[in-house]
Amino acid sequence: MSIASIRFDNVTVAYNRHPAVHHVSGSFAPGSLTAVAGPNGAGKSTLLKALMGELPLAEGSIDRGGLSSRDFGYLPQAAEIDRHFPLTVADIVILGAWRAIGAFRGMTPAESDKAQQALKAVGLEGFERRHIGSLSAGEFQRVLFARLLLQDAKVIILDEPFTAIDARTTRDLLQIVGRWHQDGRTVIAVLHDFDRIQAHFPQTLLLARETIDWGPTETALSPSNLLRARAMAENWDENAPICEPAEGVRV
């Protein structure tokens, strides 16, 4: 699989001129497995939405390494999807074949087969005709992972994939994340559990409305960094002056 590198250059995303996250520079190495960590309100989801092109940049640029939006697979936070929508598990999973079948073409036997395999890989064999409203939070997350499997994207972005998910489901889904990493895909995941990050994610971007550290997990999650992150995320001022970063802050 061809691999892609994603570079951030002084990226700032603002709401009403207040930065949700600002002056982020650095890159996600090709095939890397990175956790994006930081306190609530640190700008993690905002940064990923900006990477997906969902939010405009107030400043800076993102170089997606020649990849188009179709090369990205995105798992939104659970709260962003209406789980009472009258669809079946199969309806959701086959959306993952969008690149192959688009808006109009029917499912080919090969794609149907892949969808079956994806459901099997997430442990939901036989669930095809179940309505999503009858699934537990963990089962629904498995369905979304199956959709991602079918999507076969080069870069996979997961926004809080394990929030409110039980230990067994988390373990199964982490195995899938590990497999994506072995395949050479770039995986970026917003996570809150530091033990889990240390156990499974070699790289970490620690955010607190700006980059605290971006590099190997053991150094990024040092106690002093975590303390700084906490202080900076709470630093919100209605009348803050115009932001003028000192020379040399940009990487």
Binding site: S69, D82, F85, P86, T88, A103
Partner: protein
Amino acid sequence: MTVYSMLIAPFADYGFMRRALVASVALGIGSGPIGVLLMLRRMSLAGDALSHAVLPGAAIGFLVAGGVSLPAMGLGGLVAGLGVALLSGLVTRTTVLREDASFAGFYLTSLALGVLIVSLHGSNSDLLHVLFGTILAIDAPALCLVGGIASLTLLIVAAVYRPLVAECFDPGFLRAVGGRGSFYHLLFLFLVVINLVAGFQALGTLMAVGLMMLPAAIAQLWARTLPVMMLIAASTGAISGFAGLIISFHYGLASGPTIILTASLLYGVSLLFCPSGAVRRLFPRPHRAG
């Protein structure tokens, strides 16, 4: 009274009843599936707002044609409805107002403008026609328009079913896979507006949305999958049209409101007897083992 004289004779004997029947059945079949999608997007009241927004366009059509001309008023209504839909979308994207608030702002302006135009240049009975519809006065061209809109709606929904549903369920996903979500959102709003224009011919701007949302609510109470919901919505809309006309004919009631009240009756019965309804709550059955 025989079954024939009760159910068939009104349509066999009177041309205006036949045309009203075809119009209301077509309206139910076209609007039902659209109403289901609108409801699932949590835009039920946006449909109501859009139906009011159709008025100034219809009023201008009325002025240009120099009287009640359904094609001219339909075209005007289409332009006005789409205009309000697009402006509301623009305001939602560029300001802090949510979609419901921006719809409310535009439709009230639009409704007031429409009533003003009609009252300046028309009579009170013209205003009543526009507000409450004239289903018994539908002529052949208007019938073709209503039928054409229902057919076009069903064809478009069938052709773009997958992206329409994907855009409705998870718009972020569709954007991510490059599925041109905003195009389908716009196409959907277009379908809503043309169905409201069709409904406006028959039921007036105040009740046009009735055959869209009541059958959709009924469908959501009974069905758990989208295709079945659309089927139930389309058939309850059509049944309401038929039953409402029969009742209004025999009891001398106004047809438009009777059709909507028939749908309301079905809605009330559904609230009582649907799987999550009042009767099941009063008489709970033992739960299953797995």
